[in-house]
Amino acid sequence: MFDDFFIRALVAGIGVAFVTGPLGCFVVWRRLSYFGDTLAHSALLGVTMALAFEINIAISIFIISSVIAIILVKLEKNTNLPGDALLGLLAHSALAVGLVVIGFLSFIRFDVMGLLFGDILAVNVDDLIIIWGGGVIILIVLKLIWKPLFASTVNYELAEAEGLNPDRAKAIFTILMAAIIAISIKIVGLLLITGMLIIPTAMARNLSDTPRKMVVYSILGGLLSVLIGLFSSLEFNTPSGPSIIAAALLLFIISLFKIKQTIQLKN
């Protein structure tokens, strides 16, 4: 069944969409899109580490992204720089160091475009295992920390006062972010992962009046984007990541008409 590269890409993309839906909601609610970008940029460094030391790419990205996240937390505590400046600093430093290291690895044949924008030809059975296995673990952990994470997203002090331990939930969520980037890089590419987290969620926001609906629509939007994107990627021979994100954008634009309607109804 998984002999065909396109079936593998579809199965991988569907797995990714199930995870980016709920995580993307928290990225939007907690205003973490720039943070997602930073982790994604650092993924390039993870890939080069994987190639240099011949370890699994997803695991290597996960480790590097987690390290970057920890460094960020330390810098936030120990410097007077604003959060967005620190994120920019880490994002571009990690990207630059990653590209420099690639320069040293000239002996390895290496598809940079595929890495940046996703490549459906590159998905193998091992990737499927990592995406679905990792995805299931991410969703289970997210379910476990949902209450404190959601409560502290609404109001940190309420969650803290009423004994939900929001700091722990936030730390675990950061690790989940590193994990989703690690598993979705093959399909979406590292430059566009944040788009996969945010755009279907933005579409969902336009259609939802409860958090639960927003999560469901976000997953559905992601699934549709993956299907439309991958089929057009196959048809027009475009890179998979941009095709998926363009499809998500299309869905977002359509969802704007729904808002217009609701506003007109209210008036």
Binding site: N155, L158, A159, A161, E162, S208, T210, P211, K213
Partner: protein, 248 residues
Amino acid sequence: MSEENNILVKLNNVGLLQNHKWLVKGVSLTVKKGQIVTLIGPNGSGKSTTAKIAIGIHKNIEGKVEKFTNKIGYVPQKISIDWTLPLRVNDFMVLTENLSDEAINEALSLTGAEHLKHKSLGNLSGGEFQRVLLARAVSKKPELLVLDEPVQGVDFTGEIALYKLIKEISEKLNCGILLISHDLHTVMSATDFVLCLNGHVCCSGTPKDVAMNNEYKVLFGEQASQTLSIYEHKHDHTHSDDGEIKKN
């Protein structure tokens, strides 16, 4: 809860130093089961800070906090809900604890907010939002309720009714309440013990004691205590810029 004397939370000489300035210093207070303790004081006097110390939001503090319960209901002074989060009153009620539909309805009708249940949180008026906040804090039947200016934005008649309600809640749930208010008069009838703060404890006692206290009059103006007979006493200290107390 400590068995022998029903103490829920006990602050022993606590203080919080931030950016070389004492936000509060040397505050001691106890809240017992069934008791309403009110903190009053001008803006920036450390009322909210003291409450946050009591429930463990501020951690790097001086002094000692002993908490004998984990069932806490909290109404913060400021809470802003982001428009990016679609949240109805119904969802907000179960934010920190899952509740049955009956429990939600019961709490909302207690504060006169049952008609708001399916409304979006962003569309509520200030007063409506306060009622929802209070309902949410009460709904989980806490042992300790911490209410930071719970009636702000509520109209005058509603204010009196809500304070009456707070009194009823404390009797019904037999919980302790730590209440913050800027106005002693409206809380007067409801409260058992008042601490007047201004970076430190200026005076404390029953509402009547405090209203007659000279320091209270200096803080709140003469008319604040006019309805009560005037009791004079001398200042024994003033404040320096960093909030330190200087003895005269």
